[in-house]
């Protein structure tokens, strides 16, 4: 045990001191912060361009409404200090009379290319009168077709106007229609609870952010820990093999002690990493006063699943690494293990969508997915029944123990091996040796 701790300690210090750890882990929040700050900045850099668009109005009656709607809209984007907070849309009418449509549209296209216009739009003659069978589209032509605010606004403004005209033509009061069409919103609540003294506690309105913030935070944290730990173990063990350190180590400790020491070191690093992030998360919670985001019970499960995941995947990575003689071999050996992790990670989003579906329940029982899937299910009310949690955790712990054991069997043979990497069936044979 002493030796194992010595190795764990050395592994821990070595890993924490690596540039990859410091940059990748400690600066991750800084990078994320910088990213969000940039996004916020970029969003504030609003588009205040003046965009002139031509309207070919075959109905002959809609252009005025479009121009007025554009002016109303433009006025909304003028701040108190006179600065603009949005683009300015300016409509200009084109009289199609006596011209071939193709010629006219070609001319307008050239004007768009010359930057005189931003776009032009053609409103069909039957726009107001068309029945649903006859309806033909409003045509919007632009060079920058990916710019959406203008066509989106046009679609809305024109349709609103067309609808009003149709009500008028049918002699219907549109104010009445609006009132009759008023929609009633729906809010989601958790369940009411009856306290011991018989009073009924008010149900909490469910906030999507509050429900998912912490589980998602933990999910990403676990994924990151497992990836960091796995990559490090793989690199470390191959470096030891390549620089012939392994046999020196085996002259002092057993393969199991070596493997266990490395795993413990990495679990320690995962816990360190997690605590750094949890402190950061706690700070955010306190700073924002969003205590409703907290789910204290989940921390226990998270830590349990994190330790198991680090041990489980760590022992797989170590066993694979010990069987390889260089990093290139390792990359190909690694793919099955990476698939397991990616499946677990991506599968988690299936669980988030519907935690009680049979797929989600099945995944939470599959040992390599349990840490991710079961944690999410526990996080989302009503949560799985206790027996499911126990079965999942039991399976996970058993698999973890098996992987550490099998890993140490492979490790024992692989660590002294040089040359060609074995195939997966050969690895399985080593377990039985």
């Amino acid at each position: 045990m002493n030796r194992t701790m010595t190795i764990a300690q050395s592994e821990f210090i070595t890993l924490v001191k690596t540039k990859a750890f410091i940059i990748g882990i400690l600066f991750m929040p800084v990078l994320m912060g910088a990213f969000f700050a940039f996004m916020a900045y970029a969003e504030r850099q609003v588009d205040v361009e003046r965009r002139v668009f031509a309207v070919i109005d075959h109905t002959g009656s809609l252009f005025g409404a479009v121009r007025e709607a554009a002016e109303r809209r433009n006025a909304e984007f003028v701040e108190d200090d006179g600065s603009r907070s949005g683009p300015e849309f300016v409509a200009t009418a084109i009289d199609p009379a006596g011209q071939s449509m193709d010629d006219l549209k070609a001319t307008l296209s050239q004007r768009v290319r010359d930057k005189e216009l931003f776009a032009f739009v053609e409103i069909p003659a039957n726009a107001i009168t068309a029945t649903s069978a006859e309806v033909s589209p409003i045509r919007y032509y632009a060079e920058s077709t990916s710019y959406e605010p203008l066509p989106n606004w046009l679609r809305g403004a024109l349709n609103d106007e067309i609808t009003l005209r149709r009500y008028d033509d049918a002699g219907i009061d549109h104010a009445l229609i609006e009132q009759l069409n008023t929609r009633t919103p729906l809010s989601t609540f958790g369940l009411m609870e009856r306290a011991a003294d018989g009073t009924v506690n008010e149900a909490q309105e469910v906030d999507e952010l509050a429900r998912m913030a912490m589980p998602l935070f933990f999910l990403i944290l676990m994924f990151m820990s497992v990836m960091t730990a796995g990559q490090h173990l793989l690199n470390a063990i191959i470096e030891e093999k390549m620089s012939k350190i392994s046999e020196v180590m085996l002259g002092s400790v057993t393969p199991f002690q070596l493997l266990a020491g490395k795993l413990l070191g990495v679990v320690g690093v995962s816990l360190l990493l997690t605590s750094i992030y949890m402190v950061g998360g706690a700070y955010l919670v306190f700073a924002s006063g969003r205590f409703d985001l907290l789910n204290i019970g989940l921390i226990f499960w998270f830590l349990l699943f994190l330790v198991c995941a680090a041990l489980l995947f760590g022992s797989i990575f170590l066993a694979l690494g010990s069987a390889c003689s260089d990093l290139k071999d390792a990359q190909s050996m690694l793919q099955p293990a990476m698939v397991l992790i990616m499946l677990a990670y991506l599968g988690s989003f299936v669980v988030i969508r519907n935690p009680e579906s049979s797929v989600a329940v099945g995944m939470s029982f599959f040992p390599t997915m349990t840490p991710f899937a079961m944690m999410l299910r526990i996080a989302m009310p009503p949560g799985p029944p206790l027996w499911q949690i126990l079965v999942g955790v039991g399976g996970l712990v058993a698999t973890t123990i098996f992987c550490v054991w099998a890993g140490s069997r492979i490790f024992r043979v692989g660590i002294l091996m040089q040359g060609k990497a074995p195939t997966l069936p050969e690895l399985v044979k080593w377990i039985g040796k």
Binding site: N2, R3, T6, I7, S10, T14, E240, S243, K244, I245, E247, V248, M249, L250, G251, S252, V253, L416
Partner: protein
């Protein structure tokens, strides 16, 4: 007195290959024991079994009177043939780490580290990273790593291979220093001169079987005075084809000739053919014995010379 290493009837197979076959050795406490044998003959496998890195298929191994699988390895310093150091660690830290893995307290290790670094002129490098060391320096640090825990038994697999004469000499002195302190030493080597000079007892393994085991005297006595060292005006070409010459080991300036007849008769014939400058009847050298047993390929010989002192 309990022997430092008692190996009885160990065998090890790798698939169809018999790496070690029913080998027994007894290494007396306080001695220097040489393991010799061509490449791939089972030296390293035997050493790995003594270190409990490999488990023998059959037979028993006791080290310092205890089964090798017990914690006895803490008392054994081991320098494997394939050895390395953590490149990013400082010399001091790597030595402390290796010492701690033998279960020694840090204070004891630090004292021994200081002592050994000074002895091998590495004091200035104590806080440098391993990757900054030259190859010779790294090899000396590796040796220190094996002795920093002050072991009772020291096992060195090819300790002198690839060293320049100055560093090899320094390392040889260090080994002898360990011996003076009462440490039992086992080392394997390709270099017969080193084995002859340093080892009290020599063990040779060939194709997994023990072929020699004893003091140099005992081994040579088995072969008797069957060799003549000859320097003549005519040189090696003259000797070939002469009656009673069984084989010739040409050293250039002189030749060692294995005889299957009377040395005096051979001398008589020789004098009639050429001017004899030197003639000495002697026992075969360890090198000659090695060659007679192993008849190694050219490559083996080259590898052996590469590791020469």
């Amino acid at each position: 007195m309990t022997p430092a290493i008692a190996v009885s009837g160990i065998s090890k197979r790798f698939g169809e290959h018999r790496a070690v076959n029913n080998v027994s050795i007894e290494v007396p406490e306080g001695s220097i024991y040489g393991f010799i044998g061509p490449n791939g003959s089972g030296k390293t496998t035997t050493i790995r079994m003594i270190m409990n890195i490999l488990v023998p298929d059959a037979g028993q191994i006791h080290v310092l009177g205890r089964p090798t699988a017990s914690g006895v390895r803490d008392e054994v310093g081991y320098l494997p043939e394939e050895r390395g150091l953590y490149k990013k660690m400082t010399v001091r830290r790597v030595l402390r780490y290796y010492g701690q893995l033998k279960g020694k307290p840090a204070s004891e290790i630090d004292t021994a580290t200081r002592d050994w670094l000074a002895r091998l002129q590495l004091t200035d490098w104590a806080d440098k990273k391993v990757e900054q060391l030259s190859k010779g320096m790294a090899q000396k640090v590796q040796f220190i790593a094996a002795v920093v825990s002050t072991p009772k038994l020291l096992i060195l697999d090819e300790p002198f291979s690839g060293l320049d004469p100055v560093n090899a000499e320094a390392l040889k002195d260090a080994v002898l220093e360990m011996r003076r302190r009462g440490t039992t030493i086992v080392f394997s080597t390709h270099d017969m001169h080193t084995a002859e000079r340093m080892c009290e007892r020599i063990f040779m393994i060939f194709k997994g079987n023990k072929v020699l085991d004893g003091t140099l005297d005992e081994i040579q006595a088995e072969y008797g005075y069957d060799t003549a060292r000859v320097r003549t005006a005519g040189g090696a070409s003259l000797l070939a084809g002469m009656p009673s010459v069984e084989s010739i080991n040409d050293h250039g300036n002189y030749q060692d000739v294995k005889l299957n007849g009377d040395p005096q008769a051979f001398l008589h014939q020789l004098v009639q053919k050429t001017t004899v400058q030197h003639f000495e009847v002697r026992r075969p050298s360890l090198h000659d014995i090695f060659v007679r047993i192993a008849q190694p390929s050219e490559e083996d010989l080259k590898a052996g010379e590469g590791g020469a002192l």
